[in-house]
């Protein structure tokens, strides 16, 4: 170019040095802009991390105590007199006054005179109201124990549990406390002698709903969630994969398929409570499936997960390079063969990832389940998906609204359980993706 080849006059040398200066200034500005941009990015990440840490640490701090439960280890006297005979009939076994047996045991352990009505009552109040059921279970399982004295772990009352977990304020005036000075004295002695200890709380995983925190657990909710996840897998995965493969590989490109495509994407963004309403209208009111059944919950969640699975599958299928399809068609495979033999196997990791993430989303979903009545007080395990059940997040929701101190830690504890499931599922998705990811 003419400008470049022009001879260097003092004039142009000056302008060149000026130009250099301008360039240098610009470079400096560019570098500082880049540094600023990076700083913003790091700040954003730190901000997010800080919230995450705060969230997890508060949940953990509140929830870890839920995994322990205060238990009295009592010597329970199974006096023949209480059962009517030395070889009681099953009905005699069932009808025996276990509350009395349990109360005797705690009174004896704490050294309380059973004839002093007030003291006896106060001592009995330290036991969970579920204590009789616990002893009954042991005796009905092994009737030969009648007439003997056995060591039994009996749940302590929720207030006692709070005391052991340091959640009880002794400085409050006695009249406004849930435990009297006398009771506290007994308990301190019991702790010292080792009959009152904290044990791992298996009940949290096995019990169903209860108004008493010490006998409330996520057992029923876990079973309900398991049923629902199974139904989601069975319904949403085949439907979703079939729909996605058809849309991606077979469907003609026209107005109808375009509309369907747009609406599937819209469906993924529909608030979940709307799916709950849909489930209520169709599955319960129209089809007559019982309320609160995990079948309804599973179907609703399947509908909700369907768009996620379709979108993930379509992405996975379209990510398979066309050269693979051409190669298969080139050796004389039919379209169907090229898809089932080559495209789908290559798309499986993507499909799995989408499915697991969809399932994880469904597992944590609460709103639609409230609409279909899964927010129920269910004590008995559901034996089929047609029985009433609850789900993990709904259980958390219900406990969060309960008043007793013991439910606060249970709410956080159940949240930890739910989070553990979600983390496991997401990690599985990541591992699967890493493991089966193919490069071309």
């Amino acid at each position: 170019m003419a400008v470049e080849t022009a001879p260097m006059t003092p004039d142009s040398a000056l302008s060149a040095s000026r130009k250099n200066e301008a360039i240098r200034a610009r470079i400096k500005r560019r570098y500082s802009a880049e540094r600023r941009f990076r700083a913003y990015g790091i700040a954003a990440i730190l901000f997010g991390l800080a919230f995450l840490v705060a969230l997890f640490s508060t949940i953990f701090a509140r929830g870890y105590t839920a995994f322990q439960q205060s238990t009295f280890t009592l010597s329970v006297v199974l006096d023949q007199a209480a059962f009517g005979s030395s070889a009681p009939t099953p009905s005699e076994l069932r009808m025996a006054d276990y509350t009395k047996i349990a109360n005797r045991a705690i009174q004896q352990a704490l050294g309380v005179d059973p004839n002093n009505k007030a003291d006896a009552r106060a001592a009995a109040d330290l036991l969970s109201q579920n204590a009789d059921t616990q002893i009954r279970k042991i005796v009905t399982a092994d009737p030969s124990l009648v007439g003997q004295t056995v060591k039994v772990d009996v749940l302590a009352h929720g207030n006692v549990d709070s005391l052991l977990k340091g959640q009880f304020d002794r400085s409050v005036a006695e009249s406004r406390r849930k435990l009297s000075d006398k009771q506290l004295g007994w308990l301190d002695r019991a702790i010292e002698s080792g009959i009152l200890t904290k044990k791992f709380n298996t009940g949290l995983f096995t019990y169903g709903a209860s108004s008493k925190p010490e006998t409330a657990g996520v057992g029923v909710a876990l079973v309900g969630s398991l049923y629902m996840m199974t139904i989601v897998l069975l319904v949403a995965v085949p439907l979703g994969v079939a729909a996605a493969v058809y849309l991606e590989e077979f469907a003609p490109k026209n107005f109808i398929t375009d509309t369907i495509e747009v609406n599937i994407n819209n469906l993924a963004a529909v608030p979940s409570i709307v799916f709950g309403l849909l489930g209520l209208a169709i599955f319960i009111n129209f089809m007559g499936i019982p309320r609160s059944a995990s079948l309804v919950g599973g179907l609703v969640l399947a509908l909700m997960t369907l768009p996620t699975i379709i979108i993930a599958t379509r992405a996975a299928v379209s990510a398979v390079p066309p050269s693979i399809r051409e190669a298969a068609l080139g050796v004389g495979a039919s379209k169907m063969q090229s898809i089932t033999h080559h495209v789908l196997p290559l798309a499986v990791p993507g499909i799995l990832t989408g499915t697991i993430i969809g399932l994880a989303k469904a597992l944590g979903e609460t709103a639609p389940l409230l609409m279909i009545g899964m927010v129920a007080f269910v004590v008995e395990y559901p034996s089929t998906p047609m029985d009433a059940a609850t789900a993990l997040p709904v259980q958390i929701y219900m406990w969060a609204t309960a008043a007793e101190r013991g439910f606060v830690e249970r709410t956080a504890g159940a949240t930890l359980i739910l989070l553990a499931f979600l983390v496991v599922m997401n990690v599985t998705a990541v591992i699967l993706r890493r493991r089966y990811e193919r490069r071309w």
Partner: protein
Amino acid sequence: MLNVEPSSLQRATAQAPHLQEPKVVAKDVSVYYGEKRALFDVSVNIPDRGVMAFIGPSGCGKSTFLRCINRMNDTIPICRVTGKITIENEDIYDPSLDVVQLRARVGMVFQKPNPFPKSIYENVAYGPRIHGLSSSKAELDEIVQKSLERAALWKEVKDRLNDPGTGLSGGQQQRLCIARAVAVNPEVILMDEPCSALDPIATAKIEELIDELKQNFCIIIVTHSMQQAARVSQRTAFFHLGVIVEEGNTEEIFQNPTDKRTQDYITGRFG
């Protein structure tokens, strides 16, 4: 090139190899992509047991025409083909003809090596398996070995048949793709710029292989390299803007082109 067997030497020197009974005959073939017309009434006779090269600048329609011969264009929804193409006097666009059967008769090797992400063995065995060409494992093993031998790859891979085909080098992958095409025993093999992604050494191997394969197959190759066309083919067709400008024996096309455009192209004045 000189150590080929006498019969093929004869064919190569013959004026018009087997043109009296061409394998593939195209008559007035036109291709439309939607509104746009890509090929204009292309007619050509392609001999059996020989190599036909399609040359021409990019976008001239040679690949489009090649993909008409195994109806690969069917996979493009907006693509429409008119005219008539016959293989051994059988119209391949006859509605009663099964396109899957056609593709078993007309194999294809693509521009970029595209082995399945499966084992070397599975790559070659896939075609015979879906077409039911073998009744036993031993028979399938034999087909795989023979196909790999024909693709001059057997010696290099015989100890690692279970390794993934994608782990081979580019040239080996392309020969694997040729073995895969050969395994179903096609009559015609279409090659769409098979060496464009390969280095000169791998290219030389493929060319040598094409020379071998032409004894048994009708090979049609699209290439951007005029040297390659000159080296491997007996007949050449020069495509330009969707028409065949000139078609004839390779030697004549390269030494005595009758059309000005052909001359300009092979001397490198455009393209």
